[in-house]
Assembly symmetry: C2
Homo-oligomer: 253 residues x 2
């Protein structure tokens, strides 16, 4: 079986409110899980402030490097919503009113009887050449330009936008995983686990200790695109834990 | 009154488990809030996978640019814990057993009657020239080299390590903030708010809409190091909301 090519993505979270700690980001984990299911590996994430140069530089660094880039935040009507103009700058194109975005805003605001003022009109502007991303929650669309997908920061809207755009993404082979939970300390299994990793270099084996109320435990997470490779490594991990006197338990995903 | 210099920081979160969505990062918001209180502005965050080149490049990019860099993750005993060797590579120094780290591990493992095996001994290694960061939770220390502070990923341990190291940080003037909650839609206040921002260019004014069960609301967050500048801008924001027929409410921090 031929190896599928690796499709990668980066997430760019834009906003002072995340860096101040005021708002806890909820979008990264959502995007990560959804991309995994599509066979796209989230390879990097960055959080940058509402500063044009920072946004432009990050967009350009990430779009050159990964198959897809997803941004969240900064596309509303207020002065601190500068994402669209920064993306235009990053691509070296003009920011202009997108006729279909304008139509959707006109329709929406007529419906709810609210004035489509100059501030709200900003939400109809996209970099030239951008394709819209539907916003079933509050109408004002996101947009795609090149391999960059620009979404809202409010999680409910970001999630709806992601569902709107996912059919445009071409994934690779989905990354399969198995999680073996172990009741031995990490330091006890570490040497043997390293040997298992060396025998299965192609399988990504992560070791994650945690402290639950029921006491200490380690989750061993194995990932690969091929079930047979995954199962072979998992067999070795299970045998290792048993050999060391532990009780391995498979965790449902 | 002289302006205090701006002290900045970046956070580098290391680990495949964050990028897979399996683990939700809890450290960024903690660090952001603690730094704010110390007058240190978190200016960027990155999440990178357990890949040496990625970690080395990110550490070098961030440490050149910000006053302080904080890393979390990858300092345990297993094969996927590669942070210490990557930091050594980033600084171009050797990784070596730190005598005091070794002493602490020997003491700890003797106490709990557990063997200090080769895997656990890895946790005594630091880049040459590093100073330890205490770990009151599980003994294995973090470390500081130059302006980079290397901490565990498990939140309980990361937080304890941060409290251990905070006296080493020299902050600037703490960033003060006021939050005015508004019952008018963002698009309604946007134009006036932009004018307030223009009149107070030195105050950072953010507008954050959210959907609560009680309905739509916008939080306007004002930040500055000087109380008088903050209060002047807040007075204008409050007057703006009242002029537009809304009821501004101050939110306690």
């Amino acid at each position: 079986m031929a190896e599928a090519k690796t499709v990668t993505a980066a997430m760019l979270i834009i906003g002072n409110e995340i860096l101040s700690g005021r708002t806890k980001d909820a979008n990264l984990a959502y995007i990560a899980e959804r991309l995994n299911a599509l066979g796209i590996r989230l390879a990097e994430a960055r959080v940058v402030p509402d500063v044009p140069g920072e946004i432009v530089d990050a967009v350009n660094a990430l779009r050159a490097r990964y198959t897809y880039v997803f941004t969240s935040g900064g596309i509303g009507p207020t002065h601190d919503d500068i994402t669209a103009e920064c993306i235009a700058r990053a691509f070296g194109v003009k920011l202009a009113v997108h006729p279909e975005a304008l139509r959707r805003l006109e329709e929406r605001y007529a419906e709810i009887g609210v004035e489509l003022n100059e501030a709200r009109l900003r939400m109809a502007k996209t970099p030239e050449g951008a394709a819209l991303i539907d916003n079933p929650v509050s109408a004002a669309p996101g947009f795609q330009i090149g391999n960059v997908f620009v979404m809202a920061g409010v999680p409910k809207i970001m999630q709806a936008m992601f569902e709107s755009l996912r059919d445009r993404l071409v994934g690779g082979a989905p990354l399969l995983s198995r999680t073996i939970v172990c009741d031995l300390p990490e330091g006890h299994i570490a040497s043997g686990l390293g040997a298992v990793q060396n025998r299965h270099p192609e399988v990504d084996i992560g070791s994650y200790p945690s402290y639950a109320t029921s006491g200490f435990r380690v989750a061993l997470v194995l990932r690969h695109t091929r079930q047979d490779a995954l199962d072979a490594a998992a067999r070795d991990v299970i045998a290792l834990i048993r050999d060391l006197g532990g009780s391995p338990q498979e965790q449902a995903v």
